[in-house]
């Protein structure tokens, strides 16, 4: 088991390195000059040159990548130029480890900016996750157990219906009708959970429900399908034949086997959702990581975009790793493979 975990961790680390390289290549090897983008319309050739030097963009891309990675572990200086630092010590920005970079447009360190934003995104993602697991799996089990009768038909058809609404569209509808017009939901806003747990939940509940809705729909179908597949297995007939109660057949024999693949999918989806609250943030106006990404994109703030992409990719890789390890715990067969 330990060997299995070590192997998965090494694979994940390699994946992270490759992703970061690919991201760097994608964004910094493009014809658009990142330094020109830092000042937009106010650019002069001199200011572009200064920014390029300031951010270290005048170095070869491999050196830039090395600087970024070493900055993660040891921190770095902007600009990284001892002669300049000696002449103007007050104009040097120190970026302590783990340094993600510096955004000249925001005149702030990327890590400072992001650390204000990520609790919002995490709150949205985790709340939605709790809702969709509870209802998606719960309803899925009910649908499978009442196969072909009205609860099953109602659940499967309504889930397909909900599934057909794009998330942003559903969000806009609920926001406009149920919050602005009929004030059924409190207006969305973000309060830290440490300041006021109730205010936190109240301000986020609409985003949770909307984000969870689409996932609930697909988890009902997923859980139902795996349940039905398991329910056709011979060992359940054996269990019934030996006189096990229906309760024990459902909960002990069926659920455990049927939910294993659901756990996998849930882990992967959590990783994706942690990276993907951007639509909720745009619809409801939360100032989270996704919104930061949109702002960075519209302002062509490349030094901000790259770290955000990397952080979210790291979250996904991490979620994959956790799923892999969990899977090894649940299903001993995969450890050998």
């Amino acid at each position: 088991m330990l060997y299995y975990i070590i192997r998965r961790v090494i694979a994940a680390v390699i994946m992270l390195v490759v992703i970061s390289m690919a991201t760097f290549a994608l964004f910094y090897a493009m014809p658009s000059d990142p330094a020109r983008l830092t000042c937009g319309k106010t650019c002069t050739p001199a200011s572009i040159k200064a920014n390029r030097h300031y951010l270290g963009l005048d170095k070869p891309i491999t050196t830039q990548y090395a600087d970024f990675v070493s900055g993660l572990f040891t921190g770095r200086e902007y600009p990284d130029d001892p002669a300049f630092a000696k002449a103007n010590p007050d104009k040097v920005t120190h970026c302590p480890a783990p340094c993600l970079g510096y955004s000249p447009q925001r005149t702030s360190l990327v890590s400072t900016y992001i650390s204000e934003r990520w609790p919002v995104s995490i709150s949205i993602a985790l709340g939605a996750f709790a809702i969709w697991i509870t209802f998606g799996v719960g309803f899925g089990i009910i649908a499978a157990l009442t196969r072909g009768r009205w609860p099953d038909r109602l659940l499967t058809s309504s889930s397909l219906f909900v599934f057909s609404f794009p998330t942003f569209f559903l969000g806009l509808l609920i926001y406009s009708y149920l919050s602005i017009k009929y004030q059924f939901f409190p207006a969305p806003n973000y309060v830290s959970i440490f300041d006021s747990p109730v205010g936190w939940a109240k301000g986020l509940v609409m985003a949770w429900i909307v984000l969870a809705a689409v996932y609930v729909a697909s988890y009902i179908r997923l859980t139902r399908a795996y349940m039905l597949e398991t329910m056709g297995e011979d060992y359940l007939r054996t269990a019934r034949a030996k006189g096990a109660t229906e309760r024990s057949v459902v909960f002990r024999h069926t659920l455990r086997a049927a939910l294993t693949p659901v756990v996998t999918v849930a882990g992967l989806d959590l990783g994706i959702v942690l990276a993907g609250t951007v639509i909720m943030e745009q619809v409801f106006g939360y100032q989270g990581l996704g919104r930061a990404a949109i702002d960075a994109v519209t302002q062509s703030d490349l030094p901000m975009i790259v770290p955000i992409v990397l952080i979210t990719a790291a979250l996904i890789v991490f979620a994959n790793l956790v799923v892999d390890i969990l899977y090894g715990v649940i299903d001993p067969r995969v450890r050998i493979g």
Binding site: P166, I272, V309
Partner: protein, 332 residues
């Protein structure tokens, strides 16, 4: 054990003269078709889709001959407070069946119809790219095995590990710049090309995995063995022997990702990196109308309702197809 009548018609062909008419051997394709035809919901949805697809194809022609007119404004029809359409339901009249847009007074029905065409073009092209790459990579990966399979598998993992939505956002500027540098005309063409490329590129790995799984189970079958012993080489086996045997998952997957891409185009426009107004697509129309949702619901619901109807119809058809094509399915 009870066996439902009809399920084993072919096996019981020897007995009973009067059954002969129903016993004619049917190919899997025929069975699937007849199953699908009996599925009323799917048939209705298919009819709806055919109607909208024909409408989308006809839209440029209708626009050229002047039946619909998405571009000219009617300032006289938007005299309400804040230049809102005059009249009920966003200015519905015999000339403008769905009313007109606020501010400009352009005919809403015309814009939705033209928008439908652009949305279909984007979704269909992206689907084609995803399916094409996915099929080729899936077949090669599944059939070759060994280091080719491992390498392609790792590459798929890599593509899937990127946060898709964020990449779609983040890549918009650099990729559009690159496309422009490569000679793609700026403006609409670049926007269209960008949306199609990113959707298609991030869409294929899932599908490649499905195809790979199918090919793995097919490659040891006798007909492949036979082809190989007759001297058939890689590409011939891939595309003339294997491909015809995996059309079922291709068809099902196609019907399931096409609506996703229609929705994705709308989402990208909403996030500000898709097709920009005033070019109508379902997404850009929705984005335009977001601020009018409560004051002029028709403006929002015309593109929004159409979007939901089309996505829902596609999902139901996809579901029906899957049931019809699955030999194990117990729905007839």
């Amino acid at each position: 054990m009870t066996v439902t009548a009809g399920e084993f018609d072919v096996d019981s062909a020897i007995g009973g003269e009067e059954r002969d008419t129903t016993i004619a051997g049917r190919s899997p394709g025929q069975i699937a078709r007849s199953r699908f035809r009996r599925d009323k919901v799917s048939m209705v949805c298919l009819a709806i889709l055919v109607f909208f697809i024909l409408l989308a194809i006809a839209a440029p022609i209708l626009n050229a001959v002047g039946v619909i007119d998405p571009d000219s404004g009617h300032p006289d029809l938007v005299q309400g407070i804040g230049s809102m359409p005059t009249g009920h339901l966003g200015g519905v009249s015999s000339d403008h069946w769905l009313g007109v847009e606020p501010q400009t007074g352009r005919d809403l029905l015309s814009r939705v119809v033209v928008g439908l065409t652009s949305s279909f073009i984007i979704a269909a092209s992206a689907t084609f790219i995803a399916i094409f790459i996915g099929t080729v990579v899936g077949i090669i990966s599944g059939f070759s095995g060994g280091w080719v399979d491992t390498g392609l598998g790792r590459f798929m993992d890599l593509v899937l590990a990127f946060p898709q939505l964020l990449m779609l956002l983040a890549l918009s500027q650099p990729l559009k710049d690159r496309l422009t540098a490569m000679g793609v005309p700026d403006g609409n063409t670049v926007d269209f090309a960008y949306v199609i490329i990113v959707l298609g590129f991030f869409g294929w790995p899932y599908f490649a995995r499905i195809i790979r799984g199918q090919v793995l189970s097919l490659r040891e079958r006798e007909f492949v063995e036979a082809a190989r012993s007759l001297g058939a080489k890689g590409p011939r086996i891939w595309f003339t022997e294997l491909l015809p045997n995996i059309w079922a998952p291709i068809l099902v997957y196609m019907s399931l990702i096409l609506p996703q891409y229609i929705a994705a185009e709308a989402t990208l426009s909403f996030l500000g990196v898709g097709i920009r107004p005033p070019t109508p697509t379902l997404g850009s129309l929705l984005t335009d109308s977001v601020n009018y949702l409560l004051v002029d619901p028709m403006f929002f619901w015309a593109p929004g309702g159409l979007l939901v109807i089309i996505v829902l119809a596609f999902n139901l058809v996809g579901d029906g197809l899957r049931d019809a094509l699955d030999p194990k399915s117990d729905r007839h």
